[in-house]
Amino acid sequence: MAADLAVTRAALPGPHPTSLVEQTLAVARRAVLRTTRQRALIIFPMIFPLILFAINGSALSSATLIPGFPTHNYRDFLIAMPFIQGAMFVSITAGVDLAKDIESGFLNRLAMTPVRGEALLVGQLGGALVLGVIQAIVYLLVGLATGVTLRSGIPGALVLLALSVVIAFAFASLGVLLALRFGTGEAVQGVFPLLFVTLFLSSSSLPRNLIKTTWFRDVATYNPVSYLLEGLRSLVITGWDGQALALAFGFALAILVIALGLSQSAMKSRLTRT
């Protein structure tokens, strides 16, 4: 792609032959193609959360008998979890892909072209965006097929999809940040378990008010992942809960903005080094 961009530059007059948008789209096209060509990258991360959803949805169904549990169908409660797990897998895909570019020297070669750092950064997330959209649609369809009912109806399903894509994009930007900081795929994968820990230490299996262990409930309360889960879950169980949705979108966008901001400076530093 570096060659393509160089050729484009040579063919066009002026010092800035391609706009930022065009550069971003070119990088994004490559990222999307690379992601869609690696079927294992799509299938395994998609299947694994569904396996856990199937198993835990049945194994924990008796949790609905706890007084105060918000629904009679545990799958209604659990359906938010695959969306977050899937987003976490997307972060690894995005991070490892960029790390591969760094390790192979592709990023160095791109630095010799007029492609701007911002275009590289946002374009790299293109593959993650596609993956996030595919996953969100599959999880929603599987949920509906297994008896999950959305209290918020069809508009709620659309908001659910939008929120899950924003969350996937936010986690993907975290993956990109890790890749830029560490520069190796192994290091990105090594950090992955920490992301999963944040999922386990949240309100993923029980509502926060029903978590008995005080310190666990406190950790879940301070853990932003709880609010991402609760925003998604509110559309299924409650209907329209403005506060839950505002918190979920707010935290997802905050993660996205912070990670992208830090990534941008890391990208500048990496391109300067080359």
Binding site: S58, S62, A63, L201, A220
Partner: protein, 256 residues
């Protein structure tokens, strides 16, 4: 016999040495069971208030047995990863050339898996005791629980080592761990089997891990159940998977 022991000892030593000096290998194998213990015993303790849930030592002990056996199984699985890594790096082929009794290689990896789990199992047990786990079983019953863990570790190690020798690539990782993971989670993890309903109840009834888990929980509670069934099941699995691992070794030998 001496040659077998020498090979097994050398491979086991290398396996445990690599684990101890490499934090990237050691830390996840210890941290993961601890997080499962924290997440399940801490986050889900309210589950013990579900009507008809009856386990006198409490929910921490109920979950400890699962995490203890899970860590045993994954101690074996991680050893399979090490075998695959050895094939990818070319070390395993040099080992096959130099070992006078190659079956000692399987034994060595299995012993390495056991030693690795001894560390993880100890950490998990200490963590559970610090968290206030009640232990109602007597000394003999607790030795029985440890015996279940050892047998589980051996079965998982034989599966993982055998498959890694058949496939001889690190990319086999998902294939090695996924069946173990699914089998473990299709057992009654969160509630006793009597409280499971629907398809998960039927699957758990047929799952060979279920009697092992129930026996472990019974031993910890001081009221053993299905102990003989669990040990016989594990012994049969170990015999079958030992033959599987031996065939994996033969396949690796043929592949050169």
């Amino acid at each position: 016999m001496n040659r077998f022991v020498n090979v097994a000892r050398a491979v086991a030593w290398r396996s445990i040495h690599n684990t101890l000096v490499n934090p990237a290998i050691l830390v996840p194998s210890i941290i993961f069971p601890l997080f499962f213990l924290v997440a399940f015993a801490g986050g889900l303790s309210r589950i013990s208030e579900v009507p008809n849930f009856h386990y006198p030592p409490g929910y921490t002990a109920f979950q400890f047995v699962f995490v203890f056996l899970q860590s045993a199984a994954f101690g074996g699985v991680f050893t399979g990863f090490a075998v695959a890594r050895d094939f990818d790096s070319g070390f395993a082929r040099r080992l096959l050339l130099s070992a006078p009794r190659r079956s000692g290689i399987i034994a060595g990896y299995a012993i390495g898996a056991l030693l690795r789990w001894a560390l993880t199992g100890t950490v998990v047990t200490v963590a559970a005791l610090i968290a206030g786990m009640n232990v109602d079983g007597n000394g003999v019953q607790l030795i029985g629980l440890i015996g279940l863990g050892i047998a589980m570790n051996l079965v998982a190690a034989l599966w993982a080592v055998g498959l890694a020798m058949f496939l001889r690539t690190e990319q086999a990782g998902a294939l090695i761990q996924m069946p173990v993971f699914v089998l473990l989670f299709l057992a009654p993890v969160y509630v006793p089997i009597t409280l499971l309903t629907g398809w998960i109840h039927d699957v758990a009834n047929l799952n060979p891990v279920t009697p092992v888990l129930e026996a472990g929980r019974g031993l910890l509670a001081g009221s053993p159940v299905k102990v003989a069934i669990a040990f016989v099941g594990l012994a049969i699995s170990a015999a079958v998977l030992a033959a599987f691992a031996r065939r994996g070794l033969a396949a690796a030998e043929r592949a050169g």
